[in-house]
Symmetry: C2
Subunit: 543 residues, 2 copies
Amino acid sequence: MGFSDVDKLAINTIRTLAVDATFKANSGHPGSPMGMAPAAHELFNKFMTFNPDNPKWANRDRFVLSNGHGCMLQHALLHLCGYDLSMDDIKNFRTPGHPESFETPGVEVTTGPLGQGFANAVGLAIAQAHIAGVFNKPGHNLISNRAFCFFGDGCAMEGIASEAASLAGHLWSRKNECAKNGKAKENDWNNQLARYAEEYPAEYAEFVRRTEGKLPDDLEATLPEYCASDAAVASRKLSETVLEKINSIIPELLSGSADLTGSNNTRWKGAIDFQPPEYGIGEWDGRYIRYGGREHAMASIMNGLAAYGLIVPLSGGFLNFVSYNAPSIRLAALSKLRVIHIATHDSIALGQDGPTHQPIEVLSHFRARPNCMHSSLTRQNLPHLKNSSVQKALMGGCGYMVLDSANAAVTLVSTGSEVSVCLQAAAILEKQDISARVVSIPCFEVFDQQEESYRLQVLPDDIPILSAEAASTLGWERYSHQQFGINRFGASAPPDELFKMFNLTPEGVAKRAALTVSFYAGTLSVGKQTVLSPIRRAFAQIL
Amino acid sequence: MGFSDVDKLAINTIRTLAVDATFKANSGHPGSPMGMAPAAHELFNKFMTFNPDNPKWANRDRFVLSNGHGCMLQHALLHLCGYDLSMDDIKNFRTPGHPESFETPGVEVTTGPLGQGFANAVGLAIAQAHIAGVFNKPGHNLISNRAFCFFGDGCAMEGIASEAASLAGHLWSRKNECAKNGKAKENDWNNQLARYAEEYPAEYAEFVRRTEGKLPDDLEATLPEYCASDAAVASRKLSETVLEKINSIIPELLSGSADLTGSNNTRWKGAIDFQPPEYGIGEWDGRYIRYGGREHAMASIMNGLAAYGLIVPLSGGFLNFVSYNAPSIRLAALSKLRVIHIATHDSIALGQDGPTHQPIEVLSHFRARPNCMHSSLTRQNLPHLKNSSVQKALMGGCGYMVLDSANAAVTLVSTGSEVSVCLQAAAILEKQDISARVVSIPCFEVFDQQEESYRLQVLPDDIPILSAEAASTLGWERYSHQQFGINRFGASAPPDELFKMFNLTPEGVAKRAALTVSFYAGTLSVGKQTVLSPIRRAFAQIL
């Protein structure tokens, strides 16, 4: 392929811009933009279709720079193509050190951690195939975009790339994916969309709603409600019930699992698998992805699905193996992508599977990670609690009182399955004339965002607070004066035996609550302190 | 290959034992032991060399069951081969739910999380090649063992397996690895060892020392010492200096990096790469492994190296990308393997590389993880501190007072580069007539293991404590009343600008220290509390 003089000038402009900016910033890699400039020039100018004035145009081609350390290539190209990225931004290093979708128009996904962009691109390709499968109609090839990815040897060595490539290889082994140029630009495409709107008004309305990322209005009404007399049920099962109720109301939910469908309960009845139709095992518009044992690529593909738009990806795994895809979930949090990870089997209740499968430190990890809302699900059955409700979880800021008590001597704070253990502990304490309050904080992130006055109602001064959770205590010090948990790895045994071994029983919690009460009474009696809620801050956090 | 009647009986015995135990335990997978039994029988009885009475015999063949959910296969085989694993253990489910090296004699590595065993096996093979390279002499084929691995489709789909396979493919692409039977058993091998001892007494002594896992005696004396007047230096550079000093004293150190050699400073001058000699770029006894962009397999291979014995694996990476290999480091912690991960570039000081590269939640993750001692290294230069020393770090329990002060109004607690920020903050506070103590806690794990009386000396009652670290505050509540940190993702900018943006400057810390002092003075004045050290416990932790 020969280059014209204009081509050569364009290529050299990309190169000098990228190199100058890299040197000026004293950061970044000049080599990769130098090497990639000719291919990038050809791709952006002769193959890809996009609109710099509307970077979110639904049918644009998507470009991913997986070797994100060469970001000046992408920044230079976006500037030269007319995106809102000025020469001053580049000169004054107001561009990020790696491509960031939340900072720079025209950047589809946030890359830099090696291999992530490669798997994101597979997600963008899956999204295209799925959305085309859902919305395209005979004579209406509404969605015809393509995904392109540049990646380096570093990306290729990463396991996540092998995972994504093998899944992509399965999905498109029989399909010619060759990039074609000459696809309609946005102004021609708008005519297509107008014809589509006329012929398929309902589908058009849905297309617009999903493009705008709006959830349907009638969502809350479809959620199941339970009362305390209902039979105990595992929260992974409750999650499945919710999915059964909402999947038809939220067709943008694209579910899946990393080879744990039967354990994660993420597949609703009658779900169709996302598969090439010619395999005879699913459809392009199928809404269940069989990711296989590819946790890391799964989460990264989900980021690509969410970044594409019109899709809310959801999948399942064991909580302990969220550590396999934690780097991708981090990028979702950083980029504020709407992805849902259902993590089941959330504690030593996993029992016989042993310590390799029992999370201890995972919750602390995600509680320390910004922009993550988390609340994990049990394998074991749990009773329904009297003072718990959809409204409280939504409006009460995911941290609320489950059991009140006048003249309480202690507040027990917990989450998930241990809340019912605390309620039973409170009943035991009552018999010892120790009055206890019980508080549930399903999600630290949401609770921390509430007004201080609300948080102080939940965790007030003058009452010592004991936390109890079957996991590391690290972080519970934020909400309690004393902590009870498991600061070691678990063990292999039936769940009941393990809870007894670790004393995480109603009796074990009650015993520590009583010790907490007498400890603070003792310190008070020598004038040491009345207890101040750990919520109280001497200064505001910088966020 | 035909099976004799004895073979068939043995195979069926494995099968029935595995299936009965699985059903009795109401946990585990019966299918994989059923299917793998014939191959496992052949391997254990006709190919492998090992000694059930001495499961740690140095030249034993190593077996890894990467699909660890089929553990009853391995437990049945170990029982039938005569290892210390009784029928009662199996019947009463005293065997773990997945193979655990720290629980069961004959289990080389802890497996279950998919793909880990596969990469461990590559590590065991590398260890064999290396140790043979170091100790074998002409006519003395002392180390000739092999590593065998069973793995399932789940393991094969995991990216870690692709990473490990591609590295193994590079290392052995020209070598015939075909398993041979008929290798010497331990009693024959002991004669070999005796001849070796006679001809190579120094090497023999070293072989014994390393087999026993003993470190050399003269280690501490070789460590470099600095005084406060020495020039500031990055702690990643200090780490390199230490490696330069100790690498010849500790020849069992097998270093490496995941493609970040120039950034992690893990390669000492004159180090020889571990490579097949026929490539002309290294030697089998080389002590530096070029892992490539394969963080996950690297950590898992290191686990294999450590499990083999005679080796202390060490490698480097950016702290934020420890999340790529966190699942393998977890297994190292669970199995108590001696592995060293040098994590550099430990905060927003990474600057222009931006939030994808700046750790926020990583330290909380590892502080919550049991059996991990951690202390990460900076890219930026740090001053040497007056009251800091090797002895204090070793004997002071990795948590000690750096600056004392009579009548202190506040204690500042921190770690790493922020300790010098706190010292500067103390100087600013002094001018405001606020006297401050400064404490460094490099490693939570080590500090938590010290006597309460010592910890109370470091963090005493009656003085409010403020923590400061350029990372998530989650977990610092354990040691402080107020916390200052970064509970959001970072940003792309030169490091100095970022520290100013987040107020993590001497002035910013001093301001918050003053607010902390007046806050507690205020609460005191209304009779609320004198401050109790957060170290004080109402009850003992279960460990």
